[in-house]
Symmetry: C2
Subunit: 219 residues, 2 copies
């Protein structure tokens, strides 16, 4: 299918590359249509890869991944265009982290009361935001089997039940996430709880020395 990925950072590039490998036509969107990183990626990733502005990628995709820097995300969404995203499922992978006061990172002040996932849904009332994948390393996002044979948890939330069901199926078919390990927390307001656990993840990353770990719920 045709997929738009907003963001040219490590997360955006890892997602876009994996999506091309899965046979999807993928357009990487960035602030400016001539972004060098996006152009280099598209050249390397082959004929199914393309690049353009945020609006180009939003218009192109039938499904959208948002992987911009947390603090820049709402502006990126605005640039992508409400109309270009209308009626589409938008997977929000972002984290509103603030490293400006050192470790551990904080949640950016403007997202402490109302999460970035919720604010994205408010900004895109005609789209179906599903918050997912933001609680782990990007290499793990695109292949769950890379840690503990896939036996660990992916948290997800969103207001649209059908959009969440679609995303679950997509993650299973493309990124090897078994449905038993996908924990649907509820509506988009639950994005708050998913964003809040990421500072701990960053600290554990420092201690463990690799991002290739995740949480498994045990009983």
């Amino acid at each position: 299918m045709k997929i738009g990925v907003l963001g040219t950072g490590m997360v955006g590039e890892t997602l876009a590359t994996a999506l091309v490998h899965q046979g999807h036509s993928t357009c990487m969107g960035s602030r400016s249509a001539g972004n060098e990183k996006a152009a280099a990626w598209a050249k390397k990733a082959g004929p199914d890869a393309s690049h353009g502005s945020f609006a180009d990628a939003a218009d192109f995709g039938e499904l959208i991944f948002v992987a911009t820097h947390g603090g820049a995300t709402l502006h990126a969404i605005h640039m992508a265009g409400v109309d270009n995203l209308r009626g589409k499922i938008v997977i929000d992978v972002t984290n509103p982290l603030d490293f400006s006061q050192g470790m551990p990172p904080r949640i950016l002040k403007e997202y402490q009361d109302v999460s970035l996932g919720e604010q994205m849904q408010h900004a895109l009332t005609g789209s179906h935001i599903v918050k997912a994948l933001n609680t782990m390393n990007c290499q793990l996002m695109v292949d769950a089997r890379q840690v503990n044979s896939g036996d660990h948890e992916l948290f997800l939330c969103g207001d649209s039940t059908s959009a969440k069901a679609y995303v679950c199926k997509f993650l299973e078919e493309n990124f090897n996430w078994e449905s038993a390990h996908i924990r649907d927390l509820g509506g988009i307001s639950l994005a708050r709880t998913m964003e809040a656990i990421v500072p701990l993840w960053v600290v554990l990353y420092g201690h463990i020395g690799t991002g290739m770990f995740n949480y498994k719920i045990v009983r």
Copy 2:
């Protein structure tokens, strides 16, 4: 040894009961020395159990557990008395949760920038605060083996290395927490990351239908 437990709620009572079972003389402290719940507990828990004001319990204990409601904790500490707690290890089990706006709970506004654990350390400069056990059900706190044979994580932080080492040993000897599963995150500023993950825990509790679960880090 002599232990003071501040708080008469479910967490305080579970901790105090387990400590008595482990052979420790335990004093449960509450806002007023004549608290009925504390008196009933002490009567039921036997000769090693006693009760009194926060100040009584703080004075009594060589080691202190703080298990008060999040929003009431700094006031409880003040009532317990800085001098009564001086030089002692204080294990902070509290969570500054705000359920007033419904689910999921939020972190109380006054602890979003500086965590409750940090504020407790600021209030008790002569004591050694160790934040621990706050990320799980109280039945699990006092016996790690009740979930997955003890194979799951306990997070802990604090500014005093020796206090943390003492607490690790205490938790291993009394509550069956193997040292391999105790993750020392760093100084007391890391309390922020430990408090931040509790709203997700509350949501998962609702979904799973029991508090007898925990996170295991898998690679």
